[in-house]
C-alpha cells in the first residue's frame, strides 16, 4: 500500500537561503510521525509546503498516492478539507468566540448549518476537556493551555484524515504539556487520523510518536520507530535527544 503522506526530494529556498534540501519522508495511514529538529531547520516550512501555503521549488508531495503540489481552485479546496492543523501559537481568530473558532471549518469551509456546527463544536470542546461555558468566551480571555486545547478542538472539528501539530507543547508547563500530549493521542486514536507533529520536546515526541524522524539542515537524516530512538546509532540524533551542546550539530550562536 502506498504511504498516506509521501515527500520526495522536496526543495525550497528563500533567496539564497536553502531551507529544504531534498527532504524525503513517508508516513503510513493511521500512523503518527514526529519530526524532531532544532529551530530553523525547516520543520514549519515542510508542513507549509505540504499544505500548499508555500510552493516547493522542486520535488514531489503525494497524499494517498496523488500528487498535490500546484493544486488550484476547487481541487485545492477539496484537498485542504482532508487536513486539520494545530498551530504553535494556537492561531485562534481573536474576533470570534471560542465555539465559532472551533466551528469555523464547518460553517465557513463546509457550509454546515450554524446550529449543527455549534453542537459539533461543543462536543469537540468536551473532548478536549473544556466545558460548554468556555465556548462563549473569546480567545484573549483564555490561558495558553486552554488556547492550545481550543486549537486542538478546531483541528479535529471536521474529523480530518490528516492532522499536523506544530510544536503542540511549546510554551506550556510540563503538566499541561502532558495533558495536551494525552489529548493528542486520544483524539488521533479516536479519528484514526494520520499525523505529522513537529517538536523539539522529546517527552512529547516519545509520547505521541509511532515513528520519529530527525530533520537537520533541511534533510531527514534519520527515520525509525519511536522505540528505536535511543538506539539510533546516529550521532546527530543522540546529541539532540540528550540535549548536549557538544557534538556534530554546531549551533550558529551568532547569526552569520
Amino acid at each position: 500500500m502506498a504511504p498516506h503522506i509521501e515527500l520526495k526530494d522536496v526543495r525550497k529556498s528563500f533567496g539564497t537561503k536553502h531551507v529544504l534540501n531534498g527532504l524525503s519522508l513517508s508516513v503510513e495511514k493511521g500512523k503518527s510521525l514526529v519530526v524532531i529538529g532544532g529551530s530553523g531547520t525547516g520543520k514549519s516550512v515542510m508542513l507549509k509546503c505540504i499544505l500548499g501555503i508555500l510552493q516547493p521549488d522542486s520535488g514531489s508531495i503525494k497524499i494517498a498516492g496523488e500528487e498535490v503540489t500546484g493544486l488550484k481552485g476547487e481541487a485545492r479546496d477539496q484537498f485542504l478539507r482532508r487536513f486539520g492543523m494545530l498551530f504553535q501559537g494556537g492561531a485562534l481568530f481573536d474576533s470570534l468566540s471560542v465555539w465559532e473558532n472551533v466551528a469555523f471549518g464547518l460553517t465557513q469551509g463546509r457550509r454546515t448549518p450554524k446550529g449543527q456546527a455549534r453542537e459539533i463544536a461543543m462536543e469537540k470542546l468536551g473532548l478536549v476537556g473544556l466545558s460548554a461555558d468556555v465556548g462563549k468566551l473569546y480567545p484573549a480571555e483564555l490561558s495558553g493551555g486552554m488556547q492550545k486545547r481550543v486549537g486542538l478542538a478546531r483541528a479535529i472539528a471536521a474529523d480530518p484524515e490528516i492532522i499536523f501539530f506544530d510544536e503542540p507543547t511549546t510554551g506550556l508547563d510540563p503538566i499541561m504539556a502532558d495533558v495536551i500530549n494525552n489529548l493528542i493521542v486520544d483524539c488521533v486514536k479516536r479519528l484514526g487520523a494520520t499525523t505529522i507533529s513537529i517538536t523539539h520536546d522529546m517527552a512529547s515526541a516519545r509520547k505521541i510518536a509511532d515513528q520519529i524522524a530527525m530533520i537537520y539542515k533541511g534533510e531527514i537524516i534519520w527515520q525509525g520507530d519511536a522505540k528505536m530512538i535511543d538506539r539510533s546509532g546516529n550521532a546527530y540524533v543522540d546529541q539532540f535527544i540528550l540535549g548536549r551542546a557538544e557534538g556534530p550539530i554546531k549551533m550558529d550562536v551568532l547569526k552569520g
Binding site: 499544505l51 487536513f83 498551530f87 481568530f93 471549518g105 465557513q108 463546509r110 478546531r154 483541528a155 499536523f164
Partner: protein
C-alpha cells in the same frame, strides 16, 4: 560610483514592489472578488469602513468648505463674491477636495487599521489557519474589505459634498454676510450632476479600492513581530496617500482634460 549603485538598487527595489503589488491586485480581483462571498464579512467591513468613518469625513468636509469660502471671499470683489463664493466652493468640494480629503482621511483611519489587523493575523499564523480550515484568505479577508471600501467611499463622499457645501454656506451667511437664498440658488445653478458630482464619486470609488488594496497588501506582507506590523501600517498609509494623489491627477486629466 557607489552613489549610482545606490540609485540603481533603489530603482530595482521600486520595480520589484510595483510588480508585487500588481500581482497582489490581480489575485485580489480574480480570486478575492469572485464567488463565494462571505456576506457577514462584507456587512461588518461595510460598517467599519463606511459608517464609522462618517464623523471624520463630515468634519473634514465642513471645515474645508468653510475655509474655502473665506479664501474665495478674500480673492473676490464685493460685486462678484455672491456668485464666486458659492460656485467655487461647490465645484472645488465636489470635484477635488471632497474625494481627495475624504480619501486621505479614510486612508489614515481605515487603511492603517486593515494593515494592522491583517498584519497581526499574518504574524500569528491566523491567515495560515484560515487556509487549513478550507477558507481562502483572499476571499474571506481581502474581497470583503475591497468591496466595502469601493461601495462606501462614494457614499461617504456624497455626504461629505453636502456637508462641505453647507460649511461654505454657514461661513458665507454668518460671517461674510452673503445672502443665504441666493447662495443656495447659485450653488444649484452652477453644480452639474455629471461634471461635478459624479466625477467626484468615481474618484472616491477608485480611492476606496486603493485604500483597501494597500491595507491588505501591506498587512499580508508584514514580517516579524510588532515592528513588522508597525512598518506595514505606516507603509499602507503612505502608499495609499501617494497613490490617491497621483491617481487623482490622472483621473482629473481623464475626466476634465482637453480632448
Amino acid at each position: 560610483m557607489n552613489f549610482v549603485a545606490a540609485i540603481g538598487r533603489l530603482f530595482l527595489l521600486f520595480c520589484a514592489e510595483v510588480g508585487r503589488i500588481a500581482i497582489f491586485m490581480k489575485d485580489a480581483l480574480i480570486v478575492g472578488l469572485m464567488p463565494r462571498y462571505y456576506w457577514g464579512q462584507i456587512a461588518s467591513q461595510f460598517f467599519r469602513i463606511g459608517y464609522t468613518s462618517l464623523p471624520v469625513v463630515a468634519l473634514t468636509a465642513f471645515f474645508t468648505g468653510g475655509a474655502l469660502a473665506l479664501q474665495i471671499y478674500t480673492g473676490s470683489s464685493a460685486a462678484t463674491a455672491g456668485q464666486l463664493v458659492p460656485s467655487i466652493v461647490a465645484i472645488g468640494i465636489t470635484r477635488e477636495l471632497g474625494p481627495v480629503l475624504a480619501g486621505l482621511m479614510v486612508a489614515g483611519r481605515v487603511g492603517a487599521s486593515i494593515a494592522a489587523e491583517l498584519g497581526t493575523m499574518k504574524v500569528t499564523e491566523q491567515t495560515d489557519a484560515l487556509v487549513t480550515l478550507s477558507t481562502n484568505p483572499l476571499k474571506y479577508l481581502v474581497g470583503p474589505r475591497i468591496l466595502a471600501a469601493v461601495i462606501s467611499m462614494p457614499l461617504l463622499v456624497a455626504i461629505g459634498d453636502a456637508i462641505g457645501i453647507m460649511g461654505g454656506y454657514v461661513v458665507s451667511t454668518r460671517s461674510l454676510d452673503l445672502n443665504g437664498f441666493s447662495y443656495i440658488k447659485t450653488t444649484a445653478d452652477k453644480l452639474h450632476f455629471f461634471d461635478d458630482i459624479s466625477s467626484g464619486l468615481i474618484k472616491a470609488a477608485v480611492f476606496g479600492f486603493i485604500i483597501a488594496l494597500m491595507g491588505c497588501y501591506h498587512g499580508f506582507n508584514s514580517k516579524g513581530g510588532a515592528q513588522g506590523v508597525g512598518r506595514a501600517t505606516t507603509n499602507a498609509v503612505v502608499f495609499s496617500a501617494i497613490m490617491i494623489l497621483a491617481s487623482n491627477f490622472v483621473l482629473t486629466s481623464l475626466l476634465f482634460g482637453k480632448h
